[in-house]
Structures are given as C-alpha cells and as structure tokens.
C-alpha cells in the first residue's frame, strides 16, 4: 500500500479549522472581476502557442435538479420543468461553439466530465446534442484512455438511459448515495432506495462503464454509526472502483437549503469523528487505497496507480489521472484553468444567458497567475496528491533556493513538524501517517493569500474534516 494513514482523533479535533480544499491555487476567493474576455483569449492564444500544447479537459455544468437535497452547497436550480433543459442546452451549445473556435484543432479533448446539479436532468437526446456539438467544435481524442464521465442521480434514471450514455461515449459514472439510512434520507430530503441505486450500478457495468464512483457523506442529520455502517456494507458489496466520503459542513447562513436541517439532529463532533473513522477503517479493510482528502480507490484503479507513479493531479473535479490538461469549464458558474489563468463563468443563469445572447463569453471573474502563484500551486498540488513535496524538483523547475524562498512558510510549518504531522529533511517535506488526513492544514502554511495580510483576505471556508 503506497498511501497509508493513521486516524488520530485528538489531532483531527485540534486541527478541525476552516480552510480551503485546494482544488485550485490561488483559491476561488482570489479570482477578481478585472480578469476580462481579452485576457482569457490571450491566455488561450498562448496555450495554443506552446511547443507541445496541452490536451484539453472539458467540464460541462448542468445546473438543474428535480428536488432540493438539504445538505447541498452547490450552485443549482430546482425545477420540475424539463423544458428548461432544452433552452439551457441551446445556449450551452453556443458556448461550446465560441470556446471551441479559440483552441487550435490539434488540441485533443482527452477528458470530458458532466457535473451539476444533475446532468441526468437532461434526457439522452439533449445529452447527445451537447456531445455532438463538442465533437463538432473540438477535436475529441480517439484514444482508449479517453475519459468521459457523468454524475448520476439514480433516483431519476429511466430504463435505457445508461445504455444511451454508453452509446454517447460515457465510460465513467459517479453516483450520489450519501446514506441509505431512511431517517437520514428523510432529514436531508433525498429518498433513494438501495434497489434503484444498485440497478444503476449494474446497468453501468453491463454497458461497459470502466469505472464507477460512489459519493457518501458523513456528518448528516440523524446519522448513526450503525446506520452508516449498513450503508458502507451495502456500497462496498458492489465494489465501486472509487469512493468519495465527504464531510458535511453545516453553514446555513451561506447555503440556504441547509436551513431546512434541524441543527439539533446533527451528530455531535465526537460522533462525526467516529463516522469518519468507521468509514476509513471499513474502506481500508475492504482493500481501498487512500488517495487524499475525501477520496479512496481500489489499488488497480488508475487513480491509485497514478498516485503510486507520482502523476496524480487535482483540479475542480477532484483527483484525476490526466496530468497537464488545460481545463475548459462550460456552463453557468463553471471554472476554467487555461495556461497560467483561472476563470469562472457567471454564477447566475440570467447573466450567463445574457452574455451568450450578446455574443460575449459568459465570463464573471478570473485570475492571472504570477511566477509565485505557479510555484506555490505546484507545491500544493504535490502535497495534496502525493502527500509529499519534492524540494529538489521544485528548486530545479522554478529556479529558487527552497529554504530561503520559503523561510516564512517553514516557520509556520514548524509547529506541525513538532506535532508529528509532517517531517522536513533536505530532500522533501512529507505528511506523516498522522498528517495524511490533514493535508490542507499543511498546505495552508504555504498559501500566500492566507498569510500575507492582503486586503479582501477573509474568505469563508468549511472546516478541514
């Protein structure tokens, strides 16, 4: 086992403080409105001009959901009106066309991910229209290691849907489960039977999906150790290739749907920790590898193999094996990472629609990365993916003297070294088995924007665990 960790409740409690999840560095609160369309176009032009332009990873965001899950902190729109999907697809096709025209034709799309919201709010013919448009305006790779993935809400899958997805080229699925405990399901307004969930997993396997991910959440209202253990047993019996076990962050003042949750029914911090510990022990016992943050995978899964070979990457979609892609986010609120820039689309539907209708890119905000950002992003990426920072590699790649450049950061790291979360020697900085669950606490020591007292530097983040 290449990645191992030790569960230390006292440590986890001590360091359970708000912090970014580092799906990007700089993090989204550092994106600004001064980043405009001309700048995005310039970054795309530069990315096309590189000696070996990167492959592309497309993210398509479908914001609609049929019903509100009360725990959700995502940007989504609740409706039963399926005709909204129709008009959304029309505009999304326009955005695909705009963006596709900006990339050189030899830039292959090696990864495509549909997320939400609920991508299966759209019916297969609408999904087909989107993929047809992608194939027309981008150069989609024919390589067998091409990944097309879709997030699925099993409650709204109709017979034949999975077969249709497979026909469209989807080969990975991610299913939301959260917890099968009926009391929990009622408390979070997501009634989903074991049968309909297993039927979707079976259908995916039958139609040649090469990988299935299941999302679980711990810390939900009414959750108990016994109930969550039954959920884990049921899920593990299907041997999903990947599992994500997310922590529920109760922030009703930020996420409106959470106001429906009675805070008195939330598990105590002790129970929440015990739920995490239970999940970790069960997964380890079932042979899953810990990838990092909330993610686990079977040892033969490409994620676990990428971690072992040091090529694992992390981006807005979580962990990925497709290193060094430019990420093109399409749809309302979607985030792109192109060249040395991050950019995000308008977060509300009317603004996104109006931009596309007027022939402009629906850009809201973004960020041009300077050399210091690029260096720190590289460092944090290594830490979040491999649990280790290779000092010599960073010095070589970025032309710095590590201990001089990061003198302040290393001072901030010292208490964590003393605590036994991390070790520092001449070659590397490594999370210990006790520190593996607290990677983002380690990463925060190297985050310039948390540590310099810059204006506007008080982002609100969920707690680390």
């Amino acid at each position: 086992m290449t990645a191992f960790f030790e569960f230390d409740g006292d440590l986890v409690r001590k360091y359970d403080k708000p912090g970014p999840r580092y799906t990007s560095y700089p993090t989204a609160p550092q994106f600004g409105g001064e980043f405009n369309e001309a700048m995005l176009r310039e970054h795309i032009r530069r990315s096309n001009a590189e000696p070996i332009p990167r492959q592309l990873s497309l993210y398509l965001h479908i914001p609609y959901c049929f019903s509100p899950c009360f725990y959700c902190g995502c940007n989504r729109i609740i409706t039963r009106d399926v005709t909204k999907g129709r008009t959304y697809v029309e505009r999304l096709v326009r955005e695909i066309e705009f963006m596709g025209a900006l990339f050189d034709r030899d830039r292959e799309v090696i990864q495509l991910h549909m997320g939400g919201g609920t991508p299966n709010f759209l019916r297969p013919p609408e999904l087909e229209e989107l993929l047809e448009s992608v194939r027309h305006h981008f150069h989609v790779s024919a390589s067998p290691d091409r990944d097309f993935s879709i997030e699925i809400d099993p409650r709204f899958i109709e017979p034949g849907d999975i077969a249709a997805y497979a026909k469209l080229g989807f080969n990975r699925a991610s299913l939301g489960v959260q917890d099968f405990d009926p009391d929990v399901q009622q408390a979070v307004n997501r009634i989903q039977s074991v049968e309909q969930t297993l039927a979707v997993i079976d259908a995916c396997r039958e139609h040649g999906f090469r990988s299935i991910n299941v999302d679980l959440i711990y810390g939900l209202p009414k959750q108990t150790l016994a109930g969550f253990e039954r959920t884990l047993d049921t899920v593990l019996a299907t041997r999903p290739d990947r599992l994500a076990v997310y922590s529920y962050a109760h922030l009703p003042e930020i996420f409106k749907p959470q106001r429906h949750i009675d805070a008195s029914t939330l598990p105590t911090p002790e129970t929440k920790l015990a739920l995490l510990q239970l999940a970790i022990e069960k997964l380890a016992g079932a042979g899953y590898e810990y990838i990092g943050m909330d993610h686990f995978a079977l040892p033969q899964d490409p994620l676990a193999r990428a971690q072992a070979s040091g090529t694992l990457q992390r981006n807005f979609m979580g962990y990925t094996t497709h290193a060094n892609c430019d990420l093109v986010g399409l749809g309302v609120s979607a985030i792109s990472h192109i060249g040395d820039s991050f950019s995000q689309n308008a977060r509300d539907l009317p603004t996104w629609e109006a931009a596309l209708d007027s022939g402009a890119l629906p850009l809201w905000r973004g960020r041009h990365l300077d050399q210091d950002d690029i260096l720190r992003a590289d460092l944090i990426q290594q830490l979040m993916c491999l649990g280790r920072i290779d000092i010599a590699a960073l010095e070589r790649r970025h032309g710095i003297e590590f201990t001089t450049y990061f003198a302040d950061d290393l001072r901030r790291l010292a208490p964590l070294v003393e605590e036994g979360l991390v070790t520092v020697d001449g070659d590397s900085i490594s999370a210990t088995s006790r520190g593996r669950l607290l990677l983002r606490i380690i990463a925060m020591c190297f985050d310039r924007y948390l540590n310099d007292n810059l204006p506007g530097n008080a982002p609100r983040f969920s707690k680390a665990i």
């Binding site: 096309n48 590189e50 000696p51 070996i52 030899d106 050399q371 260096l375 790649r397 003198a407 310099d452």
Partner: protein, 247 residues
C-alpha cells in the same frame, strides 16, 4: 515573501560606464584591439541601452530608414517579412548577444520587420559611427564581417531538402550552441517563439512541430515543460542535425 522566481536566462545588465556587458557582441573585438568602453566613449561611439520593448512591440519595420544596428541584451527578437499575399515569412530569431539590423547594411532601409517576442532589451549603435570605428580597429572590422557572414549562412541553412526531424534537431542544436556561446545553459532554455513561428521558420506545419517535439520527448531526447526545454540526449539531436548544419 521573497521576490518572484524567474526562470528566464539572466538579463545581461552587468555593463556600466567602464565595462562591457558579458553578452556584448563586440567587446572581445574592442578589447583585443586595446579599446575599453571609456575609449569608445571618447571616440563618440554611442552605445545606448534601450528597452524594454514589450512582447509584440516592433523594434523596426520594413522600409524604415537604416541608421542603427542593435545587439540583443535580453529576450528574443523575431525578424520577418510579409509576402504579396500578406503571409508572414519568419526570417530568423535573435538571442542575447546577437545583432539585429545587419541585413540592412547594403541598403539605406531595413529590409524586414523586427519584433520583440518577450520583454527585450537592446544595445543600440549608430552604424556610421561603428563603421568609422571599424576602420581604425581591425579586430572590430573582422567581427562585423563575421557577423555578416553568419547572418547570410543562417538564412540559407534550411533551404535544403531536409526532414522535419532534421530541421527541428538543427533548430534546437542551433539554439543550444548560441546560448552556450553567451555563457547560458546549453541544455536548458525557454523558447519564446510560438510553435507557429517555429513552424514558419522551419517551413513545417505547426502540428508537425508539436508532433516532432512530442516524439523527441517520447524518445528521451528532451523534456518539454510548457516553454521550458531541457535537452537530455544532445548527441542524438546533433546526429540528426548534422546534415542541416553541414558538419
């Protein structure tokens, strides 16, 4: 926080009133003739540091009256002409220590455009003054002649019937040697030119340039990280480049 890291070759800004910059195209010729920088000043040869020119900014344009030549102190300069159909033809790339404007000597006007591909600093010489000086300094005159002939040879290098691999290898080996000649690393450098510029210069399609880069990388000849190129097996590239470089 310390200053931001910089992966580009250092700027040759080490010259002053009395000392030449380390990348100076003429310093060795002057020094070997017994002239240091203060002597040149007495002779009213203006050695003027200009720039930075921003990326995309023109240094001179085709048809501009010719009166100065300039040595690149930092950055990369591209020269090009535009053909009757409006298509750009890249003529060459100029690295620190190399001299632009030489091809204008035979005429009174610049015969091409010169544009900065990144932030560029120049050292500008009045051409009438430097030629007057050359008349009194045999070493400098020789240096000017050799720069001129290098410029002519460079243009004819790629006119033969070579494969894409041979052209690309020759291009990389040429960059490597030119960086080495100015004291920069011969094995690791940043390419400021776009792949379209490289393709245009080598008379290849830009997809081909990327394909060959990728193949060289797969073969272990080099490693590409964005625009950062590291040559890992220079002997293999030199072997491929031999026919183009006529060795």
């Amino acid at each position: 926080m310390k200053g931001a890291p910089d992966r580009r070759p250092p700027i040759a800004d080490d010259g002053d009133e009395l000392h030449f910059c380390t990348t100076c195209a003429f310093s060795s010729a002057c020094l070997s003739s017994g002239y240091n920088k203060s002597h040149l000043r007495e002779l009213h040869v203006l050695v003027e540091h200009v720039g930075p020119f921003r990326e995309g900014e023109h240094i001179f344009r085709e048809g501009d009256p010719f009166n100065v030549i300039a040595a690149v102190r930092a950055g990369t300069v591209k020269t090009y002409v535009t053909d009757a159909e409006g298509r750009e033809q890249v003529q060459g790339f100029f690295l620190p220590g190399e001299v632009i404007g030489l091809s204008a000597i035979s005429q009174a006007k610049y015969p091409c455009n010169a544009v900065a591909l990144e932030s560029v600093q120049l050292c500008r010489f009045s051409f009438p003054n430097i030629s007057a000086l050359a008349a009194r300094m045999p070493g400098l005159q020789q240096r000017l002649f050799s720069l001129l002939s290098e410029d002519i040879n460079k243009a004819s290098l790629l006119s033969g019937n070579f494969t894409a691999d041979e052209r690309m290898a020759a291009f990389l080996i040429s960059l490597s040697r030119r960086y080495a000649a100015r004291g920069f690393s011969p094995n690791r450098f940043i390419v400021a030119m776009t792949r379209t510029d490289i393709a245009n210069y080598l008379r290849l399609a830009s997809e081909t340039v990327s394909r060959v880069f990728r193949r060289f990388q797969d073969e272990g000849f080099l490693h590409v990280d964005r625009r950062d190129i590291e040559l890992l097996q220079k002997d293999k590239l030199e072997a491929l480049a031999r026919s183009v470089l006529r060795e």
